[in-house]
Structures are given as C-alpha cells and as structure tokens.
Subunit: 263 residues, 2 copies
C-alpha cells in the first residue's frame, strides 16, 4: 500500500483529472465511489486500475479491505482525509474510490442473438437522467443501452452515481451515430419504437413481441427527425392533467416497464 | 416600478431569505422562477406578492411585461443584473422571479367528493424527487398530493423547479401526520395502496376502481410501518435485472400511470 500526503502526488492528480471527459478518454478509466460499487465491479470481473481510501475509511474498514484482496497491494492508495476532501469538495466522497476501466465497443461487434431488448438514448443531456435511465433499464431486464453522440457522458461522476451500480451490470455503447445504428439494427429485424409527445399511439395500445429498440430523446428537442422517420411506432404517454410533459427518466420508466421482456 | 441597486434593499433581502424554509413559513410566500411559471400562477388565480426582474430581462422583454399587467406597478422591482446574479449564484435565475403565496390547508377541509385519486409521499427527502413526483401526479391526472412531515419542503427552490409549474396546478398538502391522514381517509372509504420492495403483489396484477391513496416512501427506509399495516394492498415493481431498486420518482411514474384514473 502507498500513502499519499501531498496534493502534488501524480496518482492523486490523475484521480482528480478523471472528473473531466477528455482525461477519462485519455486514460480509459472512470471513478467508482463507495464500497458497494467497487465490490460489484470485482464481482462482475471488471478491471480495477487502483483503489483510493481515506485514512479514516481505511482504519474503520479493515474488514472490508480484506474483501478487496483481489487488488494488488501496490495499487491501493491511502490518502490523507483533508486531501481527499479538498479534491472532491463538490461531491460527498464515500471514503473509498476506485479507477475502473471503461469498456467501449462498437455496435457491429455486439452479439445481437443475446441483445433482445435495447434502449437507445438520443442526446439525453442531463447526466442524472442518463444514469437514472440506465438504472431503470437494468432493473427492467433490458440487455443493452446505446447512447448517441451528444448524450451526457455515461462515465461522468454524476451519471455513474445516478446508475447506482447499474453502469457495471448492463452493456453500454456510447458515442454512437444514431442514424447508422438504427439502419444497422433494422436490417437485423429489430422494431424501432420511439417515444414522442407528438406520437400517434397511446403506449398502452402498443405491445412488442419482436426484438426491439426503444428510443428516448433530448430533454428539450426530443428524438432526431431521421430516427423518428425510421421508427416502426411513435408512442406517446398521454397527459391527463395540466402538466406540459414528463421528465424523460420518468417517461422512460413508464415505457421500459410497459415494454419490458416477459419473464 | 421600483429600482433596486443596493444589496441592502429590504425587498431584495426578503427574496434571498425565502431560500430558507423558516422564512417561507414566516412570510407565507415562495419563489417562482421564469416567465412561464409567473404567467401560470396568474392564470391559476394565485396571489402574487411581487415580481423581480433583472435590468436586462426587463429591457429585453417589454412585451412580456405587458402581459403581467395584472400586478400593480408598485409591486414590480427592477434589480441590477449584478445584484440578482450575486444573490442567486447557485441557480440559474431566469431574469424574472415572483413571490407567490403558499396555499396551505388541512386535510379535514379537503373536498373529498372531488379528490378521487390521491398521491401520498411519506418522508421523501430529496427535493428533486418530490418535485418530479408532483409533476408526474399532475400529468397522470391525480387530484391531490399529500406530503407527510419529514418530506423535503415542496416550496424549496429545487422542488419548485422540478415540478415544472405543476406546484401551481395540483392541490398539495404538506406537513401532514401520515398516520392520522390514513385513518381519516380510510374512514371515508379510500383504498390505501402502498409501494414497497417487500410488497406481495406485482403491481400489474392489481387494479383499482375505488377512491384510492397511492403511497410512496422515503428513499432509504421506505414507507412507515404503521402506514404499511393500514394498507389494503402492498404492491411491488419487479426487478428483472441486477439493479437493487428503482429511483423513487421513476417507481412513482410507473405506478401512477398504471393506476391512473380512466378518462
């Protein structure tokens, strides 16, 4: 184990840098917070680059540390409390963080025999919404989440936190060209169902038995027109009261469960 | 109209104070942000105490100002941009804000002939979740939202923002004693449906035709035991994947639409 007691420590500097997307892309790692997430990453066979614990956390959780024995001792860093606090003033660091490798892959490499129900997010810009939808997709039994170019980054601290660990449970593609992806999966026989305020069908009147891609759009402008034009169904959630619309992660929850696979 | 150019102005100080609950309770007012909300409050016949606009907003939106002619000129304040910015550094003030009166009432005064479908929130602590559920309840056509003591305050800036105006559209009771409220409405013939991870019934197998109260609980500890014991149905949303749970505002969205009134 290595102790970090200076803000100039290179490893600590890297941890802080990973708040920014360009550095996550550069190093191929993102930050997981909290013991549960770190443990889950290990259970799921993810590659952990290194673990950081505050001095207090390390002292109070020696038992938990033993459960992390899979990580080589020289990749565990104990950071002085004040340093960790100063580095993460805007969030509430849980005393333990890990650098976990980002697993990026391209959509033509996906095993579409296994990916039966897919969620596609078209330029969803709020990281909280993005993370919450990934969590819901995991809960509702979907096989894959596809994020187009223009979405918030899945691996930003806020999005990762909102997934509550689901970022580790479900296959995620990011920075996908939405138009190309839709063309590709249509060719494989998927039905495209797009959620749209201007949809012509009440979602309750639509059911899906085929392989499908369920699409949600940007908070302000909705789904890109090209994708709407290629869709097999445009479905809407009716508004009965005076509200103008629903929050996108709430709308996704309603539709993901309505169209969830039958178990 | 009155110009405010000093941070010591009493009216500006009051506006800033209303970020805190004790002052909202003291003055009986909360802050609405943005033109759309202010306009909606007027349409809904709510009492507007005063309106604040930044110098720039006022200059750029003279037309909109005319639409607010219902508010007496001496209750409209033009605030220097830098002052408004300095006072609301944590949010993005939209250049126009209003003080709107809080309409509090007690549950024994409600017209239960009109309140057919009720949502009850038991100690929901995140203001974003609280506001989002109010927005969804409005969209799904519910008649009333009841917040127990221990909920985040409906009239906090973050909760109000998350409602996207629905705080003005739907009757809201706050700081209610949950146990008393449940006893009261059961006596009036309402069915109590509680959402619980330990629920025995899949929500899809339950339908409601009577008057009902749909209950959601605290993000960590769920619904209070006393309320669970008084419930007619405990329903759960099944988890098909590896996620441990759903976000409470997503869960509320799924159930509110499933049990929404038939139009």
């Amino acid at each position: 184990m290595l102790y970090i007691s200076s803000k100039d420590n290179q490893k600590l500097k890297m941890l802080i840098k990973l708040k920014q997307k360009k550095h996550r892309d550069q190093f191929g790692n993102f930050v997981l917070e909290g013991f549960k997430s770190v443990e889950l990453a290990m259970e799921n066979g993810r590659t952990i680059d290194s673990i950081f614990m505050s001095t207090t956390y390390y002292r109070d959780n020696l038992k938990k540390y033993k459960e992390l024995a899979g990580v080589a001792s020289e990749r565990i860093y104990i950071v002085e409390d004040r340093l960790l606090k100063a580095s993460f003033d805007t969030v509430s660091p849980q005393g333990i963080m890990a650098l976990c490798s980002i697993e990026d892959f391209t959509f033509d490499k996906i095993d579409y025999e296994k990916a039966y129900r897919v969620v596609m997010l078209d330029r969803v810009q709020d990281p909280g919404n993005l993370g919450t939808i990934i969590r819901t997709a995991d809960a509702a039994g979907y096989d894959m989440v596809v994020c187009t170019r223009g979405c918030a980054d899945v691996y930003s601290p806020k999005a990762v936190r909102a997934t509550m660990g689901s970022v580790l449970n479900i296959d995620i593609l990011r920075e996908v060209n939405g138009e190309e992806f839709i063309a590709y999966v249509k060719n494989l026989g998927y039905k495209i169902i797009s959620s749209s305020l201007e949809g012509s069908l009440n979602y309750k009147d639509v059911s899906v038995t085929d392989k499908s891609v369920l699409v949600f759009g940007n908070e302000g402008s909705g789904i890109d027109k090209t994708i709407l034009n290629e869709s097999d169904h445009l479905v809407k959630i009716p508004i009965y009261g005076k509200a103008e619309s629903l929050n996108v992660s709430v709308a996704a929850g309603i539709l993901l469960y309505h169209f969830s696979p039958d178990y």
